[in-house]
């Protein structure tokens, strides 16, 4: 179900000479698998491949060291684990080594030797932004990839959301998350051992798709329900006041977020799930 790091590294080796870019999700949205970002990045970069990560499900969920891992670029949204609201303005990381102009510009770069980009006026250096100069001189680093001016309302929401993270640390959040999700897994395995909701032919009520190793997952566990159970179970969960994410046909994604979920909430979810499965 999940993809091993060794398999990814072997794909990189196989296509190393003909590959320009590696682009993967830090956490796979369906299975909840957390990839070994530093190892995959190092392996690909050593073979001359540019490396980008989509961290939509990873940022605010697991610890990241994008600079030290030498990642070329990364993108993420801010409405999942960052809590900035639906459709909130998103984030980008561009590694420092791409910030400076090439002293010997080549054809593929901007006039001044900066990295090629879809340039827009707001990405120009703040000092010259309003000078209306013909030549594009980008702002420092990732800021030079801005195209037009951002909405202040959007940024106010992101700023508020980031402020909560500043009151703790990703290490503390992650430390709690490992235990919280481990507790969820332990309770769910308990249901399976008790044969709760087992089908007529002995098929278990669900299977956990997410890797059992805490280092290969974030907060989320994905449960693949036995065929036909999803409708009734999601109805019962809603009645029980539980909000989980449903992926048709048969998967529910449960993410006890360590910032605002308690162990009691996890226990309550499993109780509701147990009832729903027992009524089948």
């Amino acid at each position: 179900m999940t993809i091993s790091t060794d398999h990814i590294l072997s794909i990189i080796d196989e296509h190393a000479d003909s590959t320009a870019l590696l682009l993967l999700p830090g956490i796979q949205y369906y299975t909840g698998q957390l990839f070994d970002i530093p190892r995959i990045t190092a392996h690909a970069r050593a073979r001359g491949i540019t490396v980008g990560w989509d961290l939509a499900h990873a940022v605010g969920n697991v610890e990241l060291s994008l600079h030290d891992w030498d990642v070329d670029f990364a993108v993420w949204c801010t409405y999942k684990y960052l809590n900035a609201g639906p459709g909130a303005i998103a984030g980008v990381f561009v590694h420092e080594r791409h910030h400076h102009p090439n002293p010997n510009p080549v054809k593929d770069e901007l006039g001044l030797g900066y990295k090629h980009r879809l340039a827009g006026w707001y990405g120009a250096d703040k000092a010259v932004r309003f000078n209306m100069e013909k030549e594009f001189r980008p702002a420092e680093g990732a800021h030079g990839w801005q195209v037009s001016n951002p909405s202040a309302v959007d940024l106010a929401c992101v700023r508020a959301a980031l402020g909560v993270f500043r009151r703790t640390s990703m290490k503390e959040l992650r430390d709690k998350a490992v235990v919280l999700t481990g507790y969820l897994e332990w309770l769910l395995n308990g249901l399976l051992q008790e044969s709760v909701g087992t089908g007529e032919k002995g098929e278990p009520a669900f299977r956990i798709l997410t890797p059992a190793n805490p280092l290969e997952r974030g907060s989320q566990l994905s449960l693949l329900l036995r065929g036909g159970l999803l409708g009734r179970v999601s109805e019962k969960l809603a009645e029980g006041g539980v909000v989980v994410d449903v992926r048709k046909p048969d998967v529910i994604r449960v993410a006890p977020v360590s910032m605002y979920c308690r162990f009691e909430d996890v226990w309550g979810f499993v109780e509701v799930l147990k009832k729903a499965l027992e009524e089948e």
């Binding site: 320009a20 998103a90 990732a142 508020a160 980031l162 994604r253 993410a255």
Partner: protein, 151 residues
């Protein structure tokens, strides 16, 4: 369900109020002015302020490595335009073969919005021993064998 939409922080309301107050009281000067009692930077410095607040979050060495702008898929397009620079020899993209739509569509559309780019040949990685329930489509192995980029 943080994996879909996170809960609303209490501070959202106060930050939005602060922004509305700035706008109502000093208008266009809000671009360059920040009040002592406001949690917000001047409008033109807000994105940089958010970058500064994100160092621990993503492990950036400096605020210049981070920017907030647009939304996810747009940013992916912008990054692809910069970082996917195919040559005749190196042109493949190693990507997930059944990703979330925001990831799968972008590389392909990139080739149409940036005419200098050639159609990418996606080197699609398929999970070994994949179960039909989760990954119902076979990997597009033909794409990974495509060797010559098309103009």
């Amino acid at each position: 369900v943080g994996n879909s939409l996170g809960a609303q922080p209490k501070g959202i309301r106060t930050h939005l109020d602060a922004h509305l107050e700035t706008w109502a009281s000093i208008g266009v000067n809000g671009h360059f002015t920040s009040f002592e009692d406001s949690p917000l930077a001047a409008w033109q410095d807000m994105a940089a302020d958010c970058a500064q607040q994100s160092l621990d979050l993503v492990g950036a060495a400096s605020p210049s490595e981070v920017i907030y702008m647009n939304t996810l898929t747009v940013n992916l397009h912008l990054m692809m335009a910069s970082f996917y620079r195919p040559t005749e020899k190196r042109h493949k993209i190693i990507a997930e073969w059944k990703p979330f739509p925001s990831d799968s569509v972008s590389p392909l559309q990139d080739s149409t919005i940036v005419p200098v780019l050639t159609l990418p040949s996606l080197s699609t990685q398929s999970p070994p021993n994949c179960n039909g329930t989760v990954f119902p489509h076979p990997p597009h192995s033909s794409k990974s064998t495509q060797t010559t980029p098309r103009q």
